[in-house]
């Protein structure tokens, strides 16, 4: 069991002129966990951002405006393929500004042109429609547009029902041509407003159509040529935008860089300042503190004061878990719950030992374990983001295989039939031959059935142990015993935690008292059963009472109230057996009740049998991951952790380059 890494409090005081150098050094080292200064502490004010922060923020907004106009994939592909090492220096900074400004202007300009073109093309499109309509209906458009008496209206309508009735009712002197939802109405010029009113109630959109020439064909040709030209112009503009994509992709790299630079520039907001100096407070891992101090002194030419202190009683240092590489994936399970506080024992190692065992005990099947192990191994490669979780599950799956051998289970099968067994034996894999009698009582009436069992230590569903005169499933008893051990391990860790934080005396009273009480009860029960002398029973009772008294002294009445809780916790571990039984039960049902009848029928039914097997075991496998995982973590969090774990730690988050950037 390890403790979180030892931290030292680190105060930095230096002249403001060194601010930028100090921040850059801290950023590059990536070790300093900064505690933001609260205004008024030590009667000092908050710092202000460095000079370029505002300018950078403006630039960032512009860069993001540009990036938002392009699909993300362009930039991502570029990032993946050829990431240019960009870095914001005094030299590259004005150049970048110019570049961004240039791209921005170019995009704006092109977009304006495109918008204009869109409008022009829309008008052209409408004109083309009206022209071809006029031509089709053989309307003398030129004459009509010059007429003093008549007027023509052309456009698109949304609703057609009742149109002709409405027109003949309100405008008896009108006539109209219609094709699909396009309509051309001719009416008296004096009635033009009324005509428009009638049409508007049918969702009318007018198109301009007036013409001077009557040569519709040549007019149509002209407009078509113009439309083609406009389309070409549009394509050219779009190509111009696309041509920018390479430069834009580079901006993606710059965006991250600018963001990081802004973080640096704004860091003084977490510092305390006087007229000409600044003060930063934070934490460093003790191991690397000397390195940081040295670097700071070097960069500021000793114009700096760095003070290192051990954490005081009221301090809450950040928590950096400190585990071996093999164990560290299990930090995932711990973080899912909570981080330990700085002074506590880090229970990751406990999770490493017991979680896979719990999971394996519950799943316990060679076939399921193998499938899951392969699945998690593949997913682990495919999903690097979930690597920690999949590592944990991979571990658990491998342990499940081991428990599968203990229980002799393979996809829920505990044995194979006589024929298969003999075939396997001929191949050199001899299973255990068992003959039992089915359908009758004992050897007399029943029919002899020979099966070949997988080697096993115990059968989950049938091996029983006699306890207090009752036959109880062995897996349930094992569960309770594991619970007893696990809970006492928790109590022991609690004892160590209490000893570290409140002293040995309190630790004995609050945590060891539980174990004394347990020992007393065990002696009392064994004495009562006559295994030991009757005297032992009374001794046990006395010891248990002493334990309870100590507990009440250590934890108050609350401790005494929790005594029954300890037993329900212990019984709760019976789920280790029970969840497994449910899983075996489902597998057996799939194999023997659902699939077997199909296999016995033979022929095409074998195919259905196989489908049922795949579906059934698929569901069971899914439940077999969710169930053991949830119950496995729950037994830790609820039953075991409550004996020692307080949590509430703050994660160690040093000021450094963001993680996704450093991966490149």
């Amino acid at each position: 069991m390890s403790k979180p890494e030892i931290m030292v409090k680190c105060k930095i005081v230096a002249p403001k002129s060194t601010l930028s150098a100090v921040i850059n050094t801290l950023y590059d080292l990536g070790l300093y966990h900064l505690t933001p200064h609260l205004k008024g502490t030590y009667n000092l004010d908050l710092g202000t951002p460095l000079a370029q922060a505002e300018e950078l923020a403006t630039l960032l907004v512009k860069v993001r405006q540009i990036l938002a106009r392009f699909p993300k994939t362009i930039a991502q592909n570029y990032l993946l393929n050829k990431f240019p090492a960009v870095s914001l220096t005094k030299k590259s900074w004005p150049e970048l500004q110019r570049k961004v400004e240039k791209i921005f202007q170019e995009i704006k300009e092109t977009e304006q042109k495109l918008a204009l073109l869109r409008e022009e093309r829309l008008i052209l499109h409408n004109q083309l429609i009206s022209l071809s309509f006029l031509r089709k209906m053989k309307i003398n458009a030129a004459a009509l547009s010059q007429s003093q008496i008549l007027c023509g209206v052309f456009g698109q309508i949304k609703r057609q029902e009742g149109l002709s009735a409405a027109l003949s009712k309100h405008l008896p002197a009108s006539s109209f041509f219609q094709e699909k939802d396009y309509i051309f109405v001719v009416a008296k010029k004096t009635q033009e407003t009324e005509l428009k009113n009638v049409l508007s109630s049918f969702g009318f959109t007018p198109f301009s159509w007036s013409l001077e020439t009557n040569n519709l064909l040549s007019e149509l040709k002209k407009k078509k040529e113009l439309a083609a030209k406009k389309k070409e112009q549009k394509l050219i503009l779009l190509k111009r935008l696309q041509g920018l994509s390479e430069e834009v992709a580079e901006l993606q790299a710059w965006e991250l860089e600018i963001q990081e630079e802004i973080r640096k520039q704004e860091l003084p907001l977490s510092f305390a300042v006087t007229g000409s100096t600044f003060l930063a407070e934070g934490w460093l891992p003790q191991k690397q503190s000397a390195q940081v101090v040295q670097a700071l002194e070097k960069i500021t030419k000793n114009k700096i004061h760095v003070q290192l202190e051990n954490p005081g009683k009221k301090d809450h240092p950040p928590v950096k878990l400190n585990n071996k590489k093999l164990v560290s994936p299990f930090e995932f399970l711990l973080k899912l719950y909570d981080l330990p506080s700085y002074k506590e024992i880090d229970p990751t190692s406990l999770l490493f030992f017991t979680f896979p065992i719990f999971f394996g005990f519950m799943l316990g099947d060679v076939g399921y374990g193998l499938v899951l192990a392969i699945l998690f191994f593949i997913l682990r490669k495919k999903m690097p983001a979930a690597k920690q979780m999949l590592d944990v599950l991979l571990f658990a799956a491998i342990v499940s295989i081991a428990f599968g051998f203990v229980f002799g289970e393979f996809f829920g099968f505990e044995y194979v039939g006589n024929e298969t067994g003999e075939k396997l034996c001929n191949l050199g894999i001899c299973l255990e031959k068992v003959t039992h009698f089915a359908g009758g009582h004992g050897a007399e009436g029943g029919q002899a059935v020979t099966i070949w069992e997988f080697p096993h230590l115990l059968h989950r569903a049938s091996t029983k142990t006699n306890l207090f005169g009752y036959d109880i499933l062995t897996v349930l008893i094992i569960g309770a015993i594991v619970g007893f051990i696990h809970l006492n391990l928790g109590l022991f860790l609690g004892f160590l935690n209490e000893a570290a934080s409140h002293g040995w005396k309190h630790a004995v009273m609050a945590k060891l008292s539980w174990m004394i009480m347990e020992a007393g009860i065990i002696f009392a029960v064994l004495g009562g059963m006559g295994i030991f002398l009757p005297l032992v029973k009374w001794m046990g009772i006395i010891i248990a009472v002493i334990g309870v008294v100590m507990l009440v002294k250590g934890e108050g009445v609350q401790g005494a109230v929790e005594i029954p809780g300890l037993f329900s916790n212990m019984l709760s571990y019976m789920r280790l057996g029970a969840v497994g039984l449910a899983s075996v039960g489902l597998a057996v049902v799939v194999n023997e009740k659902l699939a077997l009848p199909f296999f016995e029928k033979g022929g095409i039914f074998i195919f259905f049998g196989i489908i049922i097997m795949i579906l059934g075991h698929g569901i069971n496998l899914l439940l077999g991951v969710i169930g053991p995982f949830l119950h496995g973590v729950r037994l830790h969090y609820v039953e075991c952790f409550s004996k020692f774990f307080h949590g509430g730690g703050v994660e160690y988050a040093p000021f450094s380059r963001k993680k996704e950037l450093t991966k490149e």
Binding site: Y337, D338, D471, S572, A578, A582, L630, R634, Y637, V638
Partner: protein
Amino acid sequence: MADGGLIALGAGLAIGVSALATAWAEQAIGTAAIGAMAEKESLFGKALILTVIPETIVIFGLVVAILIVGIAG
């Protein structure tokens, strides 16, 4: 044989009723947990744990059912 039926009924009741109780408890916790997670996503771990706490009831139900069948039959 009549006894066998009663034993099975007893075992069924033990697990059935306890499963109902679990479901009832979990629906209340689940609703609250989802609500809390909507506010703060990092509570997922704790929400998950809170939601499965009543599972103990049905596990006890299952254990009792198995014991009834085992001891009586």
